[in-house]
């Protein structure tokens, strides 16, 4: 019993997040003046729009989480991470549009391909280390990007226009059943996060952290580091693929931009803003960046990318631990500050 409460207390942050996010559409609906029933029928305009934004953020956060596991926890700097995401997105699109597979088969296929891809990267892993691995992953991903963009594949992938007109199964259609989609995406994100939390705390996860800190030493202690890296690669690839699948279902167009280096860099940026190796930083970073980008684009337009780039540089130079990392460092001081504040409010005995 005691153990059970501990689990809830340990994860109270994410559980509160889950509850707030579940209630958010209804609260926004109330602000807008429509009753919960209207929201349940997907008819509130403002809340529906914000649900869409939320879904985008959840997908991004999942992608960033998988990148954080790979880069922040295990220390593998891959520049080909967007490939996992893009392969899953395109595969979903093609399987639904061209091959007319039933939905559960599509999901199975995507997961299977995710594992195969991770194993493909794992062929490379024992041979190359550090910067060379970064370059090889970049190379593999850019081959996929080139294939997607090639005019030979235009019937399947839509080349540089993107894959359009994917028939989404009616029960999670983002147009008519957006609230359901929103809840599914949110639950997947929370489940992934809880799983990652558990994974990092497990003995396997501790070895992964050891690999990041000093691979030679981990090897000397008798761990087969390559095996651990492969495990992380598979988990990360599966998560990124689920995110890609959701992306393909949600977005009307799957643009080839998701296979680009730029998409990996965005994942990196999210992880960096949130805090490298903190896991919760990925979610915070996704919220911060997507909302910032959304507002900037609304008011400034295209040149918003300059500001995003500047934020990136500022974070690298001045906030290297990211939002969550810096908060964790200051937590002790903050706790002291709160106690001092409470002490002032408390009547003296």
């Amino acid at each position: 019993m005691k153990n059970n409460t501990n689990v809830f207390i340990k994860n109270r942050g994410i559980l509160i997040f889950f509850a707030v996010m579940l209630l958010a559409p209804f609260l926004i609906g109330l602000l807008e003046g429509s009753s919960p029933a209207v929201i349940l029928n997907n008819r509130g305009s403002m809340s529906k729009f914000l649900e869409g934004l939320g879904i985008e953020i959840f997908i991004l956060a999942m992608f960033a989480l998988s990148y954080d596991l790979l880069f922040g926890i295990t220390g593998l700097l891959s520049f080909g991470h967007s490939m996992f995401f893009a392969v899953a997105a395109y595969l979903t699109g093609i399987a639904l549009k061209t091959m007319h597979l039933p939905f559960w088969q599509v999901v199975l296929l995507v997961l299977l391909v995710a594992v195969i891809q991770a194993l493909l990267f794992s062929l490379v892993l024992p041979r190359v280390k550090g910067v060379t691995f970064t370059l090889v992953s970049l190379g593999l991903a850019s081959v996929f990007h080139i294939i997607v963009m090639s005019s030979d594949m235009i019937n399947l992938t839509g080349a540089d226009v993107g894959l359009q007109g994917v028939p989404v199964p009616a029960f999670i259609s983002p147009v008519s059943e957006r609230l359901r989609f929103y809840v599914i995406a949110l639950s997947l994100l929370v489940a992934t996060f809880l799983f990652y939390r558990r994974f990092v705390a497990s003995p396997t996860g501790r070895v992964c952290v050891a690999i990041r800190e000093n691979e030679g030493r981990a090897k000397m202690l008798g761990y087969n580091t390559t095996l651990f890296k492969i495990v992380v690669m598979v988990i990360s690839s599966l998560t990124a693929s689920i995110a890609g699948l959701l992306h393909a279902l949600y977005q009307p167009i799957i643009s080839p931009g998701v296979a680009d280096l730029g998409y990996t860099v965005m994942g990196l940026l999210i992880v960096l803003v949130g805090g490298v190796g903190t896991l919760s930083g990925a979610i915070v970073g996704a919220f911060a960046l997507r909302l910032l980008d959304f507002t900037l684009r609304r008011y400034i337009g295209e040149s918003a990318a300059i500001i995003t780039g500047a934020i990136y540089v500022i974070f690298v130079l001045f906030v290297p631990y990211g939002i969550i990392g810096t908060m964790n460092l200051r937590q002790f001081k903050t706790k002291q500050g709160w106690q001092r504040l409470l002490g002032l409010l408390k009547p003296k005995e």
């Binding site: 370059l135 090889v136 593999l140 294939i147 005019s151 030979d152 780039g309 500047a310 990136y312 540089v313």
Partner: protein, 515 residues
């Protein structure tokens, strides 16, 4: 015999690899096609080499993967275009930049003053930040009022495309001069100087706790003095310099354009290293991310200033002759008429793209090679690549060498950009593409090896061009009548595949050292 083999093992490897490649690739092609394709490969290879060489020097000595190298290549091209097509803009911009540099180069003098000011830690910090804000704010205010003759991205007849098209046709548009209206020249000059030195002073005040003491000598005042003098002269004789540059022989103007872009590359490199890269030497991953971020910002800035559409840098007169005996069949005709093309084995070869660029590439290769092998600074760089701590322990100021190498590497990239601009055209995407080729070339040749950069770039260039050529003529498959035509996407994909294969067999690259 054995020792000669071992001593020249690298050269032998290079020759064998290239010969094997040519032997395999050139079968089934006519002599005309082979020579054109090889020359084009050399041309692409040379440009890639200029970027890759800088990259490998920087990575070898500093351990910094400078992913903004592609962006700096692009900036070099755009700066070259500005000097060549719009000298008036260049002359206008020159004055404020020199004055700002003069203001900031006084910072070592300010540091001495700042040391004497003792306000206590917190007030000093607040005062410094307030002064930084005031300084930069006023500077921005003055600079927005400073008149600079420019182009208009929204107006097609005044866009960069039109200017370069007209210059290419030999009828350059000479735009109206920008005149001082919102601000008087005297106020502008003094204002820029004062505000920039105020900012420099406040930055020195921020750092005064950690500043090193250096004795002031006449050189400290000499550099800013010269900068101010040149800046003011450029302002006073603005109209005269502009008209002189417009009337100038286009060959010399092109040389000036390349020089300016190299200098701006060197300056940008030195600025980046001293301000942004230096604080991060203890955090290598962050350096990589920083250069990546700087690269994206650079692309956005270029898009904002020069616009998205593609345009070309017109070739100088030396390479544009037509009619008469052109295309030239021998060298005498070529030099006499400045032909744009020459006939080699019955194939038309463009002189600038396929002969001039490779020659420049080879010259740069030799010059940098001699610099590395024969000069004292080259010796320090090579020693630093091998063992940085040891060099430091021997009492050499490695920091200064770091700045120098970074500036040199970026300068090489900018040079490559200005050189390639007439043949490849200018787009904000040009850097990204080339950075990928340069990375592949380096991975093939060996990341820290200078000859490896040359070999890898050459291989990448040749493979790309041969794939393009085969895309046109097709490869007859053995035992069948079918003809395989590689489609354009296979061109970059083939080099990437080669890189992956090479790295899997030799993780250090062809000429890289073993880890």
């Amino acid at each position: 015999m054995k020792t000669t083999l071992r001593k020249n093992s690298k050269a032998i490897i290079i020759l064998v690899v290239i010969a094997a490649f040519l032997f395999v690739a050139a079968r089934g092609m006519s002599g005309k096609d082979v020579i054109i394709t090889v020359l084009r490969g050399f041309s692409i290879g040379s440009v890639t080499f200029l970027v890759a060489a800088g990259f490998s020097l920087i990575f070898g000595l500093l351990d910094v993967l400078n992913l903004s190298q592609g962006t700096l290549y692009m900036i070099g091209a755009y700066v070259g275009w500005t000097v060549y097509v719009r000298p008036d803009t260049f002359v206008d911009v020159l004055t404020p930049i020199l004055l700002i540099l003069a203001g900031f180069s006084l910072s070592s003098l300010w540091e001495r003053f700042a040391k004497r000011i003792q306000l206590g830690a917190k007030p000093q910090k607040i005062a410094a930040w307030v002064m930084i804000l005031v300084g930069f704010g006023l500077l921005a205010l003055i600079l927005t009022r400073y008149p600079i003759a420019s182009w208009d991205l929204n107006n097609y007849s005044q866009s960069p495309i039109t200017y370069s098209y007209m210059a290419d046709q030999g009828m350059p548009i000479i735009p109206a001069e920008a005149v001082f209206q919102k601000i008087s020249p005297f106020v502008a000059v003094i204002g820029i100087l004062v505000t920039s030195s105020l900012s420099a002073f406040s930055i020195a005040l921020l750092n005064s706790g950690t500043a090193t003491t250096e004795t002031a000598n006449w050189r400290k005042y000499f550099v800013p003095g010269v900068l101010v003098l040149v800046g003011v002269l450029a302002l006073v004789f603005n109209a005269r310099i502009t008209s002189w540059m417009y009337g100038m022989n286009s060959n010399w103007l092109f040389v000036i354009a390349i020089l300016v872009s190299v200098i701006s590359g060197v300056g940008l490199g030195a600025l980046m290293e001293t301000t942004l890269i230096r604080p991060l030497y203890s955090r290598p991953i962050y350096q990589l991310m920083l250069t990546l971020g700087l690269g994206t910002i650079g692309v956005q800035i270029v898009q904002a200033v020069w616009g998205r559409p593609e345009f070309v840098l017109p070739k100088p007169a030396l390479f544009t002759g037509t009619g008469g005996v052109c295309p030239a069949t021998n060298l005498a005709d070529l030099f006499e008429n400045h032909c744009s093309t020459i006939l080699l084995l019955g194939g038309r070869v463009r002189v600038y793209d396929e002969i001039f660029i490779p020659i420049v590439g080879i010259i740069v290769l030799i010059v940098v090679w001699i610099l590395l092998k024969r000069s004292r600074i080259g010796m320090i760089i090579r020693a630093g690549v091998q063992d940085r701590q040891m060099v430091e322990a021997l009492g050499i100021n490695v920091r200064r060498v770091f700045t120098l190498v970074f500036a040199l590497g970026v300068g090489l990239a900018a040079f490559g950009g200005a050189l390639a601009a007439p043949s490849s055209g200018l787009t904000p995407m040009m850097g990204e593409k080339l950075l990928l080729s340069a990375l592949i070339a380096l991975a093939i040749g060996g990341l820290t090896s200078f000859p490896g950069a040359a070999l890898g770039s050459l291989l990448v260039g040749l493979i790309q061009q041969f794939m393009i050529k085969y895309g046109q003529i097709g490869i007859p498959l053995p035992f069948t009548d079918a003809v395989f035509k590689p489609s354009p996407p296979l061109v970059p994909a083939s080099t990437v595949l080669l890189m992956v294969i090479v790295l899997l067999i030799l993780p250090g690259g062809l000429l890289g050292t073993k880890e």
